[in-house]
Amino acid sequence: MSYILNTEADRKAMLEKIGIASLAELFQMVPADFQLRRPLQVPPALSEIELQQHMGELAARNTCADDAVCFLGGGSYDHFIPSVVDAVASRSEYYTAYTPYQAEASQGSLQAFFEYQTLICELTGLDVSNASLYEGGSAVAESVLMSISIDPDRPKVLIAESVHPEYRQTLATYMANLAKEIITLPTPGGVLDPDELKKQIDDKTLCVIVQHPNFFGNLEAVDAISKLCKEKGALFVVSFDAISVGVLKRPGQYGADIAIGEGQCLGNPMVFGGPYLGIMACRDQFVRKIPGRLVGQTVDRNNKRCWVLTLQTREQHIRREKATSNICTNQGLFALRAAVYLAALGPQGLRETANLCLQKAHYLADELCKLPGVSLRFKQPYFKEFTVQVPGDAKALLANLLKAGFHGGLSLGRWYPMLGNCVTIAVTERRTRAELDGFVSAFRQSIRA
């Protein structure tokens, strides 16, 4: 079936008004040679009952985070989503609207985005946030494109190997045809060693990118890195975890020029990788270089406070090839969800959420490290994720854990051949002590198996 309202009588009347005899005449502009003379080879139509059965069957063949306790992280986390987030986001006045070009008809979304921007400024300790990017990986690439437009003459981009491997791969793909050099700084100790950075950074360095906490879960030496960037006039770009700033310092506090991040953790479901939310904030002086939509406050003709899309001369629909970015559709609904999430948590809720992650991650790490052959791979402080070395094949261990009802963590060998026997484990505020203890005993048995 389709969602068409035109009846046979309507169609007849409409064709008559247009002055043609048949629907086929509508497509006279399409050269006959190119017209498809057969039905598309797609599966036959399903009623809602059949569709729900079909999707239910597909869903039943997946082991979701409700079926197996989730210790997977790496940018996507099983954080709790308060019901107010879904309640607000399911208002179809929000989710069936589009980009708020007509301010008079979009004050709801515009104000929500202005609130989102403010909340992200508070989270990052920076001055300006855009109204969202796609997700955390392309946000890294956008931050470098932005850096290029701030300082076009510097050719070198330095990125720590402890940044999410898929974010680094995204950056490499975006940069393939641009005349910039990307240098990946090794992190054998689980973090970027400031002395290693000191060897590489110079006055040709455009920007330095670190993730804090990083892909292994460890905290980077952000103060020392920031200082080196300032000395050489390089931009300091930090990919941060939005939950971590409940306890950790905010990027602006340790001198980041641009903060980016994956906002999935702010009230958004995992959905196998997307849609998510790309966070980006920067210092005031770079406002005209930031990519994406910006909502600004102004007044209307009756002097009423209101909100509009602004500084649009940065954007593709005005500037075309000279735009700061090609982004058009962004992640509005997920920015709204993040705003509701942060307002629902408040400062205390965010602090408590971060603390629960921190405490439970450390409890689990300590318990796991009591098992034979299991140890923390890096001697570094960490937040909600940590990396352990396991005896034997990490992949086989994880397969055993899944059978026991646990999504056990990320096997690092795929991205770091040297860390083939390492697993990174994420612990959110949702995990109970019973789940943690159950995981430890399953881990013990899986090692033996």
Partner: protein
């Protein structure tokens, strides 16, 4: 009846000590000093403090200050604002779909992989092309991805001199912006007075430096390029690739296929053509489809079927890599899949036919009163011009757009495409009824009879009217401050 207290900013209605979400007590032994003191913040970020009812009233009252498809006819040209079926929301929220981690093992998400694999095949069939990558997050992201694929293709063939992308002047702004970010030089191609590609201009600019010609077909004027066969032949003869901007696929699904008329690569806007809710500005989903010899360069992973099992394939040596983390905007792909499965082959063709029927009917209702520079027929949308009205009655496209809001209609897209002065780009979509189109047309005709000075201050019934954009630009206030 309107509520002004709740729609103050979150930060203004905040009261110290209020809470909405509460966390459980910590059930593991609490340890101090787990983190170095210099990494720890003295206080959490200064977020607003609200109770649950404060928060709900705030956002629910704010939502009433929006127009949306569920409340208003929304003929925003180029955006394909069709109805978003409610079943999609329920099915996308199934825990077996929504609560899947992107890096869980392939054998623990076979149902998801099967759905994505089917979607790859379906989108290849609709495109008439050979391979599909679902990764890009939106249409513009798809453009960039495909251009990077083209760049890798030519690099591999040692044709590095192909550094140019040709783009008609009527194209979406994303086309030249994507080309620039992919590292290409852009060359603008003129449109004829009829709004089609100027073949002479194209021929004069086409040479061995051309990598890609990007074309939107039907174009942004709502016309199908009648010479598309000649155009794609010209491009191919020059050794270049044809890219189709698929923003207007709602006009051709099941009627003609880009691969059949010579496109080598294209993107879909799944949120438009296959109705993902637009979310006040995203999320979208922008898969790309390509010809077989371009497939090796697609971003990874792709879903492949191995016997009866599905897996994510990463090992593709010529891949461009990836353009984002994780698989793609799966939540939107899932809704698109549900839409296609609901419509089936017959329903998809009906969708297209009725989208084009509705646009032509609306055009027929208004063309005697409103200039439509490019003829009396269109595909799924048409572009009217208020030029003459502006000259004779001081009624601009903006005036008409703003006044429509008073009558409960969202405005059309205005001042785009740039090649039509005082443009009003109107796309009704197939999910609207004849009565809605009749009433909208009658309103439009009434508005252009109104007094220009009166219209200059419209709208009169919306929560705000005529915001001062210049002030927002000159004195940017981009966040709330105490």
């Amino acid at each position: 009846m309107t509520n002004n207290q709740s729609t103050d900013l979150l930060f203004e209605i905040s009261q110290p000590g209020r809470r909405c979400h509460r966390l459980p007590a910590c059930d593991v032994p609490v340890r101090q000093s787990l983190l170095p003191t210099d990494a720890v913040a003295d206080a959490p970020p200064p977020l607003p403090e609200l109770g649950e009812i404060d928060l709900i009233r705030h956002f629910v009252n704010l939502s009433k200050r929006n127009m949306s498809i569920d409340t208003n006819f929304y003929p925003l040209g180029s955006c394909t604002m069709k109805y978003n079926p409610k079943r999609h929301e329920r099915l996308a929220a199934l825990p077996g779909m929504a609560n899947l981690h992107p890096l869980q093992s392939d054998d623990s998400c076979q149902g998801m992989l099967e759905m994505l694999w089917s979607m790859q095949n379906i989108l290849a069939e609709i495109a008439g092309l050979d391979a599909v990558a679902l990764q890009p997050a939106a249409g513009a992201h798809g453009e960039l991805t495909a251009l990077l694929v083209a760049e890798a293709f030519y690099r591999d063939r040692k044709e590095k001199q192909r550094t140019r992308v040709l783009i008609p002047d009527s194209a979406h702004g994303t086309n030249p912006a994507s080309a620039a970010i992919a590292g290409f030089d852009t060359v603008s191609i003129k449109s004829t007075a009829k709004g089609l590609v100027d073949l002479a201009d194209l021929t004069s600019k086409l040479d061995e430096r051309t990598a890609v010609f990007m074309i939107t077909n039907p174009n942004t004027i709502g016309l199908f390029e009648s010479q598309i066969g000649a155009i794609t032949k010209l491009i191919h003869d020059a050794g270049a690739l044809v890219y189709l901007d698929g923003a207007n696929m709602n006009a051709i699904v099941g009627v003609t296929r880009p691969g059949d008329f010579g496109a080598d690569m294209m993107h879909y806007n799944v949120h438009k053509t296959f109705t993902g809710p637009h979310g006040a500005g995203g999320p979208g989903s922008g898969p790309i489809a390509v010809r077989g010899d371009l497939a090796p360069y697609l971003p990874t992973p792709l879903v492949v079927k191995d016997g009866t099992t599905f897996k994510l394939e990463y090992n593709r040596p010529k891949t461009i890599g990836r353009v984002r983390s994780f698989f793609g905007n799966v939540g939107i792909l899932l809704r698109g899949y549900c839409y296609i499965r609901t419509l089936g082959p017959v329903g998809l063709r009906e969708m297209t036919e009725n989208a084009v029927l509705n646009a032509n009917y609306l055009l027929a209702l208004v063309q005697h009163a409103l200039d439509v520079p490019n003829g009396n027929r269109c595909m799924h949308e048409f572009v009217a011009s208020a030029s003459k009205l502006k000259r004779t009655k001081h009624i601009s496209a903006m005036e008409i757009a703003k006044r429509l809001l008073d009558f409960g209609y969202h405005a059309p897209t205005v001042y785009f495409p740039l090649v039509v002065p005082e443009a009003l780009m109107i796309e009704p979509t197939e999910t609207e009824s004849k009565e809605t189109l009749d009433a909208f047309a009658a309103t439009l005709l009434k508005i252009i009879e109104e007094d220009g000075n009166f219209l200059h201050n419209a709208p009169y019934t919306t929560p705000i009217s005529r915001p001062n954009d210049a002030k927002a630009f000159k004195e940017p206030i981009l966040r709330w401050k105490a």
